[in-house]
């Protein structure tokens, strides 16, 4: 029997506000234990929540980017349960009136476009952190009440790979919007997966299982792959799939049941009486819409058509807004989008990775890179010299200087004068009679040797094409 995988993903994105969603405490990561706290986020008697307007704005912005309907009447609800990291004994969330509904996200999987529906996105507060120490736990409420946007997809995802690509695309959008820093390892973006299988052609959904504790993109795919295998095995053995939550164990690459003796949760949702409904009128939505940047997929498609670069290149260059803007500047300044792409994807990315820098901290500025390319295209310097200058810039030399100045200061102008080059070639030929004879009797490989010698003599400043032409003539 052939099976189809059905996956829905729930992503919790920590929103990049300065203060928490319901109190004025800082959201800054890494503060000393329980110091980013106040009576509100520690659930002290008598404390009350007050909504951070920016959370609503960021949620609207994200909803628009995901092509959602933004609901006008927004109600917060209490989700009641007991856990040490939940100081009030309830989480303020949105239940049946979430801010965003009915959206979609389009992305590429194996060069094909795939669209996944977004069921809803809603605002809620984060819980604190419960740190387990064997027989006891320690509770830190710094994270309590940090704003979250929970984004729920339709069960439209059909493979672990699609799940990975969906997450990458979603993360990319969140980064573009500046609403979340998408760090799965640090927990600013968390993902739970709902996974089920069904025989191909079957319309009814199979029993779904919720997977938690997935801390990276790689683990998402692995967890899903394992779970799908587990479910298929069970079904083929004639067993039923239990409705449960399972934890992904990255060490053993498997999912384990969270079977606890606790009752199933009855969250007893009801509207939060300490907050009134938030009215998001059309005017507010339109105001936020003006702040929507060009989104990653649109930018990718435009780069492909406008700059005639391959999709693969465009994908890498549009990974972040900063990278895309860097690229586009360079492409425009040089009118050579292909060269811009090659330099950035090749040498620049390598340097940034080595130095663990973001493109916004690049030791080579857009203007400098553009000038390098322009000077190559103009024949002023050779590609080799350009690479040397590039490496020097990466090492910190010539910081802030114009490339023209660097070239003239160091006498790096490419020599194209045929007379000068001929002279050097003659010198090399005279100095290496043995190799000349070998080459003339058929050892073609030695051509490189002569090019190298000429280049060396000319300290790399010989125009390669001229050298090649003249060498061919002379040899």
């Amino acid at each position: 029997m052939a099976f189809e995988t059905v996956i829905g993903l729930e992503v919790h994105a920590q929103l990049l506000t300065d203060s928490k969603i319901f109190c004025a405490c800082s959201t800054q990561f890494g503060a000393p234990d329980n110091t980013n706290t106040c009576p509100v986020c520690t659930g002290m008697p008598g404390a009350l929540p007050v909504l951070n307007r920016k959370v609503v704005e960021m949620s609207i912005l994200t909803g628009l980017a995901l092509q959602c309907e933004i609901r006008e009447n927004n109600v917060f609800s209490r989700k009641n349960y007991f856990y040490p990291d939940l100081p009030k004994g309830y989480q303020i969330s949105q239940y049946d009136e979430p801010i965003c509904v009915k959206g979609k996200l389009t992305f590429y999987v194996d060069d094909k476009e795939k669209t996944v529906g977004i069921t809803r996105a809603h605002m809620e507060e984060d819980a604190g952190k419960n740190i387990h120490h064997g027989e006891f736990s320690l509770v830190n409420l710094n994270r309590s009440s940090v704003p979250l946007l929970e984004i729920v997809s339709e069960p439209d995802i059909r493979s672990a790979k699609e799940a990975g690509e969906y997450l990458r695309a979603l993360r990319s959008i969140l980064l573009y919007l500046g609403v979340c820093d998408g760090n799965m390892e640090e927990g600013s973006m968390r993902c739970d997966a709902n996974v089920s299988v069904r025989p191909v052609g079957e319309k009814k959904f199979g029993q779904r299982v919720e997977l938690k504790n997935i801390n990276s993109f790689r683990f998402v795919e692995k967890a899903i792959e394992y779970e799908v295998g587990r479910q298929i095995d069970l079904i083929e053995q004639g067993e039923k799939i239990a409705q449960e939550t399972r934890l992904y164990d990255p060490d053993k690459n498997r999912t384990i049941s969270m079977r606890s003796k606790e009752e199933a949760h009855d969250y007893r949702y009801f509207p939060e009486p300490d907050l009134l409904p938030v009215k998001v009128d059309r005017a507010w939505v339109e105001k936020v819409r003006t702040r929507l940047p060009e989104l990653p997929l649109d930018k990718l498609k435009r780069f492909v058509s406008e700059y005639k670069i391959p999709e693969y290149d465009a994908q890498i260059l549009t990974q972040t807004r900063a990278m895309a803007e860097f690229y586009e500047e360079v492409a425009k300044l040089t009118s050579n989008p292909k060269a811009a792409s090659n330099w950035i994807m090749g040498d620049l990315l390598r340097i940034l990775n080595e130095q663990k820098k973001e493109i916004t901290e690049s030791p080579i500025s857009k203007e400098q890179l553009a000038d390098l390319i322009k000077n190559i295209d103009g024949g002023k310097i050779s590609g080799k010299i350009a690479k040397t200058i590039f490496e020097d810039l990466a090492a910190g030399k010539y910081a802030g200087e114009k490339i023209e100045a660097v070239i003239s200061k160091n006498n790096l102008v490419q020599v194209t004068d045929t007379g000068a080059i001929e002279a050097v070639i003659d010198k090399i030929i005279a100095a290496n009679p043995g190799q000349v004879e070998q080459y003339r009797s058929g050892k073609d490989k030695l051509f490189g040797f002569f090019v190298g010698q000429v280049m060396k003599e000319m300290k790399g400043q010989g125009a390669p094409n001229v050298i090649n032409d003249l060498l061919k003539k002379k040899l």
């Binding site: 659930g43 002290m44 008697p45 008598g46 004994g89 736990s137 509770v139 007893r268 009486p273």
Partner: protein
């Protein structure tokens, strides 16, 4: 006894010393404690310090505030920074809040001095102040009887002459009922008038703090001080606070007084009925017109109130789990036991009962029939009032069907206790301001309050009418 106006004028004009007013109040508080048990804690040290500070301000010519030197009792449901706040519950027996309620801050800024935390029904749940972990409060008018609740300690402190003003809270009648039982004035403002920040929550959509005093003028002055939009409470209204005390007038000419037939039906103690009828006639004699109105959902108000209040309370009381503050059981083998036993040991019977009721009403399968239904009927209750206010300017009636009952009389039957609230539940469900002003006494010399309810934000109107009643009684 001097009025608040006289007290603060006296202090501001250097005729009275805050220190004297406060030490007198403190002495009375201690003396009366064995008799009425109106306080859970008395703030000797901080009160004297605050009094000294007020006297210093006056001496140096600085403005000490509109309530300068006035000793005040605050229901032990309002957080006072650095001073024990218990909600009359074992579960908060040693709890010391790290911040003060906005109401307390406003009072202190105005120069008032908190001399003690008044006793109450545990977590404001009750109508007799017999549900306190620190013992029942006794009615100073007749100590064999209850003072009413849940703000029983606040009412007793005023009725016993310890303070001129106390702060209570009203969710289903907890200011108006004890005010009526003790023969004093008490007002529950419009929902949204006074900040709930720092007031230990019972029912979020019903709770309001308000003054309990010996006169309407006193109440108006205190209410002005504690009212106003608070950025820390998202359910406070963005509406200016009128100068109620300055504009207080004795003039009900042309005022249309609504008499809901449901508030004058059978089942009211004939002595209470006599007093109320008399007060109604008084208003008429002073120039008001009497109008018959209907509040047909009155009997359903009890069910609506108890569902809404208990559902909200069941959630509001979830934070008392022994983790970050409050009582933690010594007997827990694991986390689950920590929760269950701390809460089992810490909460009294009434909070436990209401938590159970609220949890049940919100639980899977019951939400629509109970909570949602109650909220729908609540809207209809409010509509009833708004329809009535199309025909009248204010609504009057009794506060409770009977006067202060004997200690222990209703205690064992919670439903009976709940039915006592039938007249006071309407105003909080609709968010309307309501007060009780003493309108007379029964044969047995028990006080009977007249309830006056007004439209949203019309506190001036009901204060004025109450002023007329107290002036011409």
């Amino acid at each position: 006894m001097t009025s608040i106006r006289e007290m603060r004028d006296g202090v501001r004009n250097k005729k009275l010393k805050a220190k004297d007013l406060v030490s007198e109040a403190l002495k009375k508080a201690h003396d009366a404690q064995p008799k009425y048990n109106s306080f859970i804690s008395i703030c000797d040290e901080s009160a004297m310090k605050a009094a000294e500070h007020v006297d210093k301000l006056v001496a140096s010519g600085k403005d000490p505030g509109p309530l300068a030197g006035v000793p005040i009792a605050v229901k032990d449901l309002l957080c006072t920074r650095g001073h024990r706040t218990t909600a009359a519950s074992k579960i908060l027996d040693q709890y010391i809040p790290p911040y003060s309620a906005t109401v307390v801050e406003k009072l202190e800024e105005a120069g008032a001095i908190v001399i003690g935390k008044a006793n109450l029904d545990e977590f404001a749940m009750g109508a007799s102040n017999e549900n306190s972990a620190y013992g029942a409060v006794k009615n100073p008018v007749d100590p064999t009887r209850v003072p009413g609740g849940s703000s029983g300690g606040s009412a007793a402190a005023v009725a016993a002459g310890i303070v001129r003003a106390a702060i209570g809270t009203d969710t289903g009648g907890s200011i108006r009922e004890p005010a009526s039982f003790c023969g004093i004035t008490g007002i529950k403002p419009t929902y949204g008038r006074v900040s709930r920040y720092g007031i230990i929550a019972f029912a979020s959509s019903l709770d309001q703090a308000g003054p309990m005093t010996r006169s309407v003028d006193d109440s108006a002055i205190v209410l002005e001080t504690i009212s106003g939009k608070d950025p820390r409470d998202a359910t406070t209204a963005d509406i200016a606070v009128p100068k109620w005390s300055e504009n207080l007038k004795d003039n009900v000419k042309g005022l249309r007084v609504g008499l809901p037939k449901e508030y004058f039906a059978d089942g009211i103690d004939p002595e209470v009925r006599k007093v109320i009828d008399n007060a109604v006639q008084l208003l008429k004699a002073q120039g008001a017109t009497l109008v018959d109105v209907d509040l047909p959902l009155t009997p359903h108000g009890i069910a609506v109130y108890y569902i809404v209040a208990c559902c909200e309370a069941s959630s509001n009381l979830a934070r008392y789990d022994g983790v970050r503050y409050g009582l933690r059981t010594k007997d827990a083998a694991n986390l689950l036991e920590l929760y269950e036993k701390s809460r089992g040991e810490g909460f009294g019977a009434e909070p436990k009962r209401r938590i159970m009721l609220g949890t049940y009403a919100l639980s899977s399968g019951y939400y629509d029939a109970f909570y949602k239904k109650a909220c729908q009927v609540r809207r209809l209750v409010r509509e009833d009032f708004l329809k009535a206010f199309a025909k009248c300017d204010l609504i009057v009636g009794p506060v409770t069907p009977g006067p202060a009952f004997k200690l222990g009389e209703k205690f064992s039957d919670p439903l009976k206790m709940y039915l006592n609230d039938v007249f006071t539940l309407g105003a909080p469900l609709a968010g309307l301001p309501g007060l009780s002003v003493n309108a007379g006494f029964t044969k047995e010399k028990l006080p009977v309050g007249l309830q006056i309810i007004g439209p949203h934000f019309e506190e001036q109107r009901i204060l004025d009418a109450a002023h007329t009643v107290e002036t011409h009684l």
